[in-house]
Symmetry: D2
Subunit: 391 residues, 4 copies
């Protein structure tokens, strides 16, 4: 059970780049950071429009002089204050992640970055090296990874409850871009621009999520993949709004991933099914409190969050905040992640290496993997949907 008493002597001073007025992702970051009183939101470069930034930042509780129109100004100014920010979250369009993250690390900040973390693999590797050199924390915001049932699934696989993994099926396929809505929606617009979004739309935007969750659960590594992608709304070309990927994993398992923005009528349909030699696990992000466990030859079981039959020792943090039956949701998953971020950042500051190692979170390696996925998929698809190494 969640331990509300986990507090830091002083909460971590935290800032945010991007996520200004009207940004849903900005709200998600702020709400998750504030949830457990482990972070204090004290500075922001929320908006390139200086007035709007100041106005909105102020509404969010920032002092006027800590509402910055540009991240560079923020990093500079905050680094000169005794009470300057210690950590920053980056919630801007993809193409800007690298420069901002690099600058943040170099300014001595711990970093939480949206995914895909960079536009290419090399940049992601560079960030990893930089974070290591400066001994800075670097998390990549795979926001679904905080759901307790994901960790129950991981533990079940680890303990052999499904036998050796044979198949990993993944999908995140919504229908919200069935029409060319980017004509009217700014939030959709940049995602369709190769310059800003990078070489992929929906694989990066959605496909990386179940990919991360499934590899987290199974601990398998992809060796090669094949990707077919399409732009059903033609103006999106070369960026895809639908993709199908086939995988080979290092243990001989195979997998599939369907990412789509044109699955008309669907809400999310982010689903993961892990099939082992003797049983399968299935999880669906729209109903995250349940985990199906299907042993061949036995009645299918539905495991519920918060129940005593779950593995209780899977993680010391954030497993359940309210009793089973009560639904937890998206915000709990994010809060569970920010909770971990705070504890690890604190451990780094305290130079407590044991504590650092004891806590899992989606790190820069997870970020690199996501960019590799995009990179390999684009390479495969653009060569005519052929098999390529995962790299």
């Amino acid at each position: 059970m969640f331990n509300e008493e986990t507090r830091l002597s002083v909460p971590i001073r935290w800032g945010l780049v991007g996520g200004g007025r009207g940004s849903e992702i900005g709200h998600s970051h702020r709400a998750a950071a504030a949830r457990d009183h482990l972070f204090t939101f004290v500075a922001g470069a929320l908006d390139l429009d200086a007035d709007r930034c100041a106005d909105f930042g102020h509404k969010m509780g920032l002092d006027q002089d800590r509402c910055y129109p540009h991240y560079k100004a923020m990093f500079l100014s905050e680094s000169q204050r005794d009470d300057g920010i210690q950590a920053v979250s980056i919630a801007t369009p993809n193409s800007t992640h690298f420069d901002i993250a690099k600058a943040a690390i170099e300014a001595g900040l711990h970093v939480i970055c949206e995914k895909p973390v960079t536009l290419n693999v090399q940049d992601a590797i560079t960030l990893k090296a930089l974070a290591e050199k400066h001994n800075r924390f670097f998390a990549v915001m795979y926001g679904y990874a905080g759901y307790p049932m994901i960790h129950q699934a991981k533990e079940m696989v680890k303990r052999g409850d499904i036998g050796k993994v044979r198949i990993v099926n993944m999908q995140f396929a919504h229908g919200f871009h069935s029409e060319e809505i980017e004509k009217f929606s700014e939030g959709a617009q940049w995602r369709m621009s190769p310059t800003v979004s990078g070489p992929s739309f929906i694989i990066g935007d959605c496909g990386t999520h179940p990919f991360y969750l499934a590899t987290l659960i199974t601990d398998l590594k992809v060796t090669s993949l094949l990707c077919a992608r399409q732009s059903f709304v033609e103006s999106r070309s070369p960026l895809e709004d639908n993709a199908n990927i086939l995988f080979k994993f290092d243990n001989g398992a195979v997998g599939t991933l369907w990412a789509s923005a044109i699955n008309a009528g669907s809400m999310h349909q982010q689903k993961i099914r892990i099939i082992g030699e003797k049983a399968s696990l299935e999880w669906w992000d729209e109903y995250p409190n349940q985990l199906r466990y299907e042993v061949q030859g036995e009645p299918a079981q539905v495991l519920e969050r918060g129940m005593g039959y779950l593995y209780s020792d899977i993680d010391a943090v954030g497993c359940s905040r309210v009793g089973g039956g009560h639904p937890e949701g998206f915000f709990e998953s994010w809060s569970n992640l920010y909770h971990r971020y705070a504890l690890v950042i604190d451990a780094i500051e305290r130079q407590d290496e044991e504590a650092q190692k004891s806590l899992w979170y989606p790190d820069i390696d997870a970020g690199i993997d996501g960019v590799k996925l995009i990179n390999s998929c684009v390479k495969s698809a653009d060569a005519g949907a052929v098999w390529v190494d995962y790299e």
Copy 2:
């Protein structure tokens, strides 16, 4: 969509009675109050054990001198401070609600009280009169009432989307007390004691919830009811662990309510089905983002939270905090309520009567209705499950 910019110039100073270490309900209150930065938690009488109270309160961020072992001390001391609490939430066993709430109002505090608000109807009416006299806010914590789909349902009924209501079926039937767990669980223990819990266990503990939601949605008034109750775990007698209630409503509609703690294997099963002359609505608290809408002679529809086809003008507050598809849950419902509480308390403080009227929340009348339900059910059941007036 939720407006994160809704802030108060100064958050409301807020205290809590009960909800100490290990209390799930205490965490729920604190998390909901903190969520939107509209309350500041500054004082607490969280535990009758002074040391534990101080220790736990301090962990929760309270100053040592504002951790009170008794609510009376808290009300007295806080009322003498310039920065004393303005509002208090009461999360203690049922039998203590009346005295604490009365004292709170008399100390000039706005009150948020757990349900059932009192052990008998007269006490609840007394609290209402007292709150009116002192012009204090009084909310009763029907925590499920903050779910957006409940308000969508209410608006649909109001607009005639299901025709005149004929039947209201309600249930909240879990299985967590199938065995005599009160032998081992303190939290369960007091609920089985007539002295502390009042004349009912599961009707009060669970039945009042869907009853409130359904009467909120339909705006119907009960005229008479019949209740049969049982103590399947015999040591619980005279308190029931299972009850079935039949209702007659003022418009000619009828209804049923099933409240149970011994529905073995069930998580919550809190469900409401409203049947009209031409269509039905059904909502299930374990999957609160969905609302079934079944028009006779048409395919059943599943409405999803956060979608454009919902009535957008149903409420200015807290309808959706994240886009459809992402699940919201229990904590969002509670936060949506505390959000409203803050705005109304602020309106009272500002003597803004229009703002007070514009905002719905579960008020003392809702509390009185819940106690009437319990009172009438017990009267009916103890007379052999006969029809009695709802009073």
Copy 3:
């Protein structure tokens, strides 16, 4: 698994009263009787209109001279033939059951009769005595009782898999009569006429089904009940289109039954939930191949028809006709019943008492119970929804 090789040396010669052109129930009887080649359809009094009877009967494969406009003529004529019918099914409106069944028995026929078997309890008892006196088979057509999962549930209760039964909740609540469709539909019309339908509409028409299934599964006896009924379409009065019933059983268990024809938007919603001291069973007739088994404190399980983990020795007849995964439906349930009817009738003809005893089927006692249910409900409801003995 179903044994297709179960055949009789000569199939039973079978006739049908009612069920003429356009009758869905007539088709159901004919299809079920023919399914396993254990009956031969050779005579019918399908329609009171002689021409239509002859025309339709001929289409159904009857010889012209064995299409009778009246059941009396059929019984007389057939009894004088060497190859006359041995058994007859009665699929006519309720008020006619008694006379036809009585005449059938007196003509030496085995009888399969639609439910409710008679308009009052005494008549049903009379039929029982008559059938015993003439040593004739008498089944009452509770058509859902042939589903394999019902028998799996019965066996599970018997073996103690859910512990002592505490609660039996039943419902059959569709929405097809939300409006006054009897204005346009002949099939609906007679059901609303007290003279033809008897003192109840929806309790008799639908409520008797889950009542039979649940008492079959649990083997419990009702001691007393209370019924509230309404005619939401007023012209139906005094016949109800909605009813709620509370039960007390002989072992201390309680129960509820909701029967409705105005549950707008619902297809059937025939559901049974049996709650024991340690687990619950739930079955839904719209998805009859599944049975939920929920043990308190364990993950809920979904049992599937046709699987090896089911109790295989529950019944020698008709458990599964195709492998699990493939859905079986309504017609298999009916066929499984007719299959049993044939074997028992054959055993009676062969004077094989052991075989007679070894086979369960819904017999005249089940029919009497259904009429008692109606009788008691009407008595209770008409006295103002008070407790009455079940009789």
Copy 4:
């Protein structure tokens, strides 16, 4: 609604090859043929063991002299009788289909053949030519194609209810061969033998089903495909127990097909999702009475078999045999197909060309398509999962 009055003046005399004692598929054919009294089962080569064939055939109602140990004997002998069979169903292992079907046509018989119809495309084309030359009926037993909701879906696509089709996702993925059960099960054994089963196991055994249904619904043609297949139980190699296929269709749509026998814990999971520019349709064979219709931006709808809102003019035969709410299942789907077979065979015999054209059924072209699917998949997979033409 199903018209029970559709009868032939004389039912078609029908025989069966294969499907002896213990064969589930044999029972399915016999039950479907008998269901509507349009066929009479009069001869069989049910088993290569002459004694067992005679014994079992007799139990099934055949005259002793019409129980043949070999199909050749049956075709010869029956062709010399005045009352010889007119049609034959072939329910034998794959490798025998061609010879038997060829012999049947040449013996003047109408043919209903299990799928895959032959081991290679050329043989299937040969059968088509032969059937045309002899003017014989040739159906391929895609048994799921008789479900009414499949035809509702087809009509919806045709009328533009989902817009232009973009994606066709198909799967049939059960878990019954997760272990090497062919060691113990004869029925499983031949399916793993390339000599008997052909070049594919699960694509042919299961994958062809949703492929047929989806192409039937959408009327799209595959242009090219890519298939990756595995033998997770190694002894099955080169036959696959799991396969993933990517498709390109002639209208620019894409598709996927997952066929598996090692999807541990799954019953069938035969699902089809057709995604159009504005809406999607989804159907699941385990719950065949429902069809999901999801219009982007509107609440998802669940269409139910038997309801007035369905397109009633989609087919003159076998749409619904019982009212909505009552579940129909596997046997109704098969019976609806055999019903069509009988009418078309009768039309051929009567030389009524109009009637022949008016009735859809899964014909030899459907059979050829299935073999092309297998052929192309094997070619693709064996070349390393590369794109190949569909041929």
